[in-house]
Symmetry: C2
Subunit: 294 residues, 2 copies
């Protein structure tokens, strides 16, 4: 009943590993592969078995040798490497953001399960986890209510975000000169500049950089509640902007420049400057989001 997505993902990853090796080379041990692939040895063995069956790997006495270069077409398609729970997430986000759902819509577990073609258990589990994003609410013995991806959601989100980011930025600036974070922030700046130089082609890469940047700042003083809140932000930006591509390039360029300003402020160690750069960036991000909701 469980899907073999872990196996398929590992299989694909294994293809990549083999491609870095020479034909006829000996493979690493099962245990070594287990660590490289990030799965259990059970799965590694299944992958090895599958590759042997296809002639990619040849098993000799106490050895496994690469028999033939795996071709890209032997990979399992991306969809088959996603656990059902991940597929549900995507389906749900699509359902939500495509506009099938307006604020106040009742969410019916059974109906969603039917619509997505999965078991109710999974939908239920997803909704329980999704609850933390503040977009749905459960009612006792009844279903869920979708509260809507509304302006007030965005405002509440940014109120918290501002508190958290200002806190982290200040703590960041208070770190001693010797701290390794100053190196990291340097390479962060470099990454921003690189992206900026090639913004027309790569503007879509910003989303990931954005997340990394804010997480780096927050990481100086770890707090599990702040980290958990960053998941909310990541989710919002990841999914929301998938459906709102308007002005994406311009939007991201502005954000990059704001990040650079914040980096400079951090390096100056000047609290007033930091506060201002931080607030400026968040205000503009908030306005952009609000604008795209309306």
């Amino acid at each position: 009943m469980r899907t073999d997505t872990t196996f398929k993902r590992a299989f694909n990853d294994m293809i990549d590993i083999i491609r870095t090796l020479d034909l006829g080379a000996e493979l690493p041990s099962e245990n070594a592969l287990r660590i490289q692939l990030g799965v259990s040895r059970t799965t590694v063995r299944k992958v090895l078995a599958g590759m042997s069956a296809r002639g990619i790997i040849i098993s000799e006495a106490h050895k496994r040798i690469i028999g033939e270069r795996p071709r890209q077409k032997e990979r399992y398609p991306k969809e088959e490497t996603l656990a059902i729970s991940e597929q549900v997430e995507t389906s749900f986000m699509e359902w939500m953001l495509r506009g099938d759902a307006c604020p106040g819509t009742e969410i019916n577990e059974t109906e969603l399960a039917r619509k997505f073609g999965v078991a109710t258990t999974i939908v239920r589990e997803f909704l329980n986890r999704f609850q933390k994003y503040g977009l749905i609410e459960k009612r006792q013995n009844a279903g869920w209510v979708f509260k809507g991806f509304t302006a007030s959601f965005a405002l509440e989100l940014f109120e918290i975000r501002e508190m958290f980011e200002m806190r982290s930025a200040r703590l960041f600036a208070a770190l001693p000169d010797g701290s390794p974070v100053w190196k990291q922030i340097q390479s962060m700046r470099a990454a921003h500049l690189e992206l900026l130089a090639d913004i027309d082609a790569r503007f879509q890469d910003f989303s990931e950089l954005d997340s990394r940047f804010h997480r780096l700042i927050a990481a100086v003083a770890p707090n599990r509640f702040i980290e958990s809140f960053q998941d909310v932000i990541t989710m919002v930006f990841h999914y929301h902007y998938q459906w709102n591509k308007r002005d994406e390039r311009a939007r991201n360029e502005v954000a990059i420049r704001e990040h650079l300003a914040l980096i400079e402020a951090l390096e100056s160690r000047n609290i007033a400057l930091i506060d201002r750069a931080c607030r400026l960036h968040l205000t503009s991000a908030r306005e952009t989001l609000l604008h795209s909701i309306a």
Copy 2:
């Protein structure tokens, strides 16, 4: 397979309703009862049927009359009115706080299900919901890890709490004189004074008052993320102090006085005073918690 806890709870509540009525009196309509009991009409009818079977209610043509006073012993015991999911919560908290679990302990769904005598589905669902409290963490394709009810948990919790409470207190103080909250804060003060007057006997009532007090302050500027965080705080205090009764009376008395000081500060509208009262209270609450953890 589903338990009939909703029915049993409604049945007990119905006993209370009937006791306020006279013998021979006519009962409200099913619909009216549905609203009073907060359940569906289906459940109301089941309750009515049960009571008819016991002679508490006599059904005549188009009428239902109270035939006999229900006795307290006819109530269903409390345990039977708790949904399995609620029982799991209690069991888990007990498991956690009784000390069976030290930081880093791996949580095994199957084992917990066995230990608690429930289905794995329910345990899984509970863990998914419980995740938001920051005490457990999931690992892909494996179980969960209990991160421990540790000092750093308490510190991280209070760092956020301080941000949120200060924010709410300030917004509270900024409300115009005409706002109804000033009346509410007055009666809150009265409730605190009452409790203080009878502290030796009623010190255990503080926990609920505490939660109400902080929620009142936060409610002036609703933010779903802050509200959700208050659930965390409520959980911590509710369960943790169930297993740490040491100095409870003294602890609560101190907290009441701190609340009274904060109320006074709020009424003064003086930001500096408010900040100080707020911080004082939170610091003392944090120290108390830290002390009881160590």
